[in-house]
């Protein structure tokens, strides 16, 4: 079957387009967005294809407007997605905090670019803290999925909607401008792959014989507010128990393990191949869920290896979660590039070699 056949599920697409098409196929009922590079293809694609689907697609006046439209639509029981990049995601933090508190499901895609500030439009992983530690005000978490291919850009949309609705919590797809822009072959999810369920809590109009529904994040009595907080924490604990996902390569005999997510994990794959050719036993652990973080698996591996090298396109953000998981079981090193720069497999290899040489020197 030709990859240009519009009817085929196998296509060559940009990551941003794959995300958009997968959202339609996953039964998205509303999308509210605002253009920002490097993810404007998402709303462009949705606007173009919208006539073929029963889905609201609206360009709002700002990211503040759009995230609050998401709030309203999600509160009315719709399956909703929104996407943006760093500066826009920062503006949305107000609405995301309110949604976490009001327990509204939605899918947020952050196609990261270099920052801080207006930054650059080149790829980055500088929003890791913002995504995994809450981002807005108050104690809350997002469930964060980090795709590493165009295939996963599509797959994680379906999974993201499913998890958002299971936990009544916003889910974030944390990816970057390179994955958003690059084209790869993928198999799209089938339309109707995620059936809609009734949301009894949604404000669709008070049932004549039932209780009215209120969507709110305001709990003035501290006792009640603490109760809500405890409920949220319980959900996050359940996520930690049930939703941790990761991928690993060649860890069984590894002396050094590379820990990287998203695009960087693919770069590290090449580093691993180069290192193995040189006789260095290198493996990879790639967290797929950034929250919940695969801490348990990392701790297991840390007691078996000489060192861990965390590689990120930032100044060392996931590094903190890696160190918390490793708890001193082995040395944890860091290699990072920032501001839109992408580390090459060779420079990661150099970092690996420096660790190995240092260890050899220490043993002498």
């Amino acid at each position: 079957m030709s990859t240009h056949d519009e009817k085929s599920d196998v296509r060559i697409m940009k990551g941003n387009e794959a995300l958009a098409e997968a959202a339609f196929r996953a039964g998205m009922q509303a999308y509210f967005g605002y253009p920002i590079t490097p993810q404007s293809e998402v709303i462009e694609y949705l606007m173009e294809e919208q006539p073929n689907y029963d889905c609201v697609v609206l360009q709002a006046e700002s990211e503040l407007g759009s995230i609050n439209m998401v709030f309203g639509a999600a509160g009315a029981g719709a399956r909703v997605m929104i996407s943006s990049s760093g500066p826009g995601i920062s503006l949305m933090q107000e609405g995301i905090s309110y949604m976490a508190s009001a327990q509204l499901p939605c899918l947020i895609a952050n196609i990261q670019r270099g920052g801080p500030g207006l930054g650059t439009i080149q790829p980055s992983q500088g929003d890791y803290f913002q995504a995994t530690k809450g981002g807005g005000h108050g104690d809350y978490r997002l469930l964060v999925l980090a795709p590493a291919s165009v295939q996963e850009m599509a797959d994680f949309v379906v999974e993201g909607f499913r998890l958002a609705e299971k936990y009544r919590n916003p889910v974030m797809i944390l990816t970057d401008g390179a994955l958003g822009q690059m084209m790869e072959k993928l198999e799209l999810p089938k339309a109707g792959c995620l059936p809609h369920t009734v949301m009894p809590w949604a404000t669709t109009g008070k049932p004549a014989d039932g209780e009215r529904r209120i969507i709110t994040s305001l709990f003035m009595q501290p006792e009640k507010m603490e109760e809500v907080n405890l409920l949220l924490q319980k959900k996050y604990q359940q996520m930690e128990a049930e939703e941790v996902r990761y991928e690993e390569h060649e860890v069984e005999d590894a002396d050094v393990i590379l820990v990287a997510f998203g695009l960087v994990a693919r770069i590290c794959q090449k580093t691993m191949e180069l290192a193995r050719k040189k006789g260095l036993r290198v493996g990879i652990l790639r967290p797929i869920t950034l929250f919940p973080f695969p801490s348990k698996r990392l701790a297991e591996l840390a007691s078996k290896v000489d060192a861990i090298l965390t590689v990120e396109m930032n100044a060392g953000q996931m590094l903190e979660d890696v160190k918390l998981a490793v708890e001193g079981r082995c040395p944890v090193h860091f290699k990072g590039r920032m501001g839109g720069m992408i580390p090459s497999p060779d420079e990661v290899l150099e970092a690996v070699e420096a660790i190995v040489e240092h260890k050899v020197e220490m043993e002498r």
Partner: protein, 258 residues
């Protein structure tokens, strides 16, 4: 509260609409919010649309509006009620959706949302309570505070050279093609309440007909924020607020057609 019925042997001709809950309102004596809540819910009752109406509460004194209106409701972030209402209406186009916002909410922090919701002609009702002061936070200057008016953040009176003049956002709204019906009403006398109710009835009818945004400003009082008795505040409302915010229709369907 247990209040013994006083109606034995009498016919009840005026009672609480069933779309208001039993929860006693927290509003200060003389405040207009309770009256406007009641007018809205009377219309919902009379149209028989309790099961089809979704309200959006703001941040401000009426933040607990959902405690009093016996319908499905959402509580929005400060200034975002009309964006939240847009989200609801877009996915449930056959429901009646309204936002209820104060002056700080609608005309300061939420100005962008307000203008663009109306400019898109979202088919909702926006109720705008203008009492020229931030009530809930304790009487600070609002975008609609009058020139020279004293508040806790304009202790020597609003100085237009520094703070600008009161923002007549309803006049701006009326210029937008998406606005179908824009009116400025009051709720401090029996006559004004009757006029307000007519405006609300019209707005819900227009929404049923998918006409576009209906916008009702209620020029109201804030006895606590203004540091007056309820009677004094109503007098002050008429003498000081109405000249700056004159009552009446700013845009009627006939004008929209032209």
């Amino acid at each position: 509260m247990d209040i013994p019925p006083l109606t034995n042997g009498f016919e009840i001709v005026y009672k609480k609409p069933q779309t208001l809950t039993e929860t006693p309102m927290h509003y200060c004596p003389g405040c207009g919010h309770g009256v406007v809540h009641r007018v809205l819910m009377e219309v919902v009752d009379e149209m028989g649309i309790q099961d089809k109406t979704i309200g959006v509460a703001p941040v401000g004194c009426s933040v607990f509006a959902y405690d009093y209106m016996n319908i499905d409701m959402q509580e929005a972030a400060h200034g975002r009620a009309s964006a939240v209402a847009t989200g609801i209406k877009r996915v449930l186009p056959d429901r009646f959706v309204f936002s209820y916002q104060g002056d700080g909410d609608l005309a300061a922090i939420g100005t962008a949302e307000t203008i663009h919701v109306v400019n898109r002609g979202e088919n909702i009702l926006m109720v705008f309570i203008n009492n020229a002061v931030y009530g809930m936070t304790g009487g600070q200057m609002a975008p609609t505070t009058l020139d020279g008016m004293k508040t806790t953040t304009s202790p020597f009176g609003r100085d237009p050279k520094s703070a600008g003049h009161p923002l007549k956002i309803t006049n701006l709204i009326a210029q937008l093609p998406g606005a179908y019906y824009v009116t400025r009403q009051a709720a401090h006398t029996a006559a004004s309440v009757r006029k307000l109710k007519k405006a609300v009835q019209a707005a819900f009818q227009y929404q049923k007909l998918n006409k576009g945004t209906c916008f009702i400003e209620v020029v109201s009082n804030c006895p606590s924020g203004w540091k007056m008795t309820p009677a004094e505040s109503n007098k002050w409302l008429e003498e000081n607020m109405f000249p700056i915010f004159p009552l009446g229709d700013l845009k009627t369907p006939a004008q929209t057609m032209n």
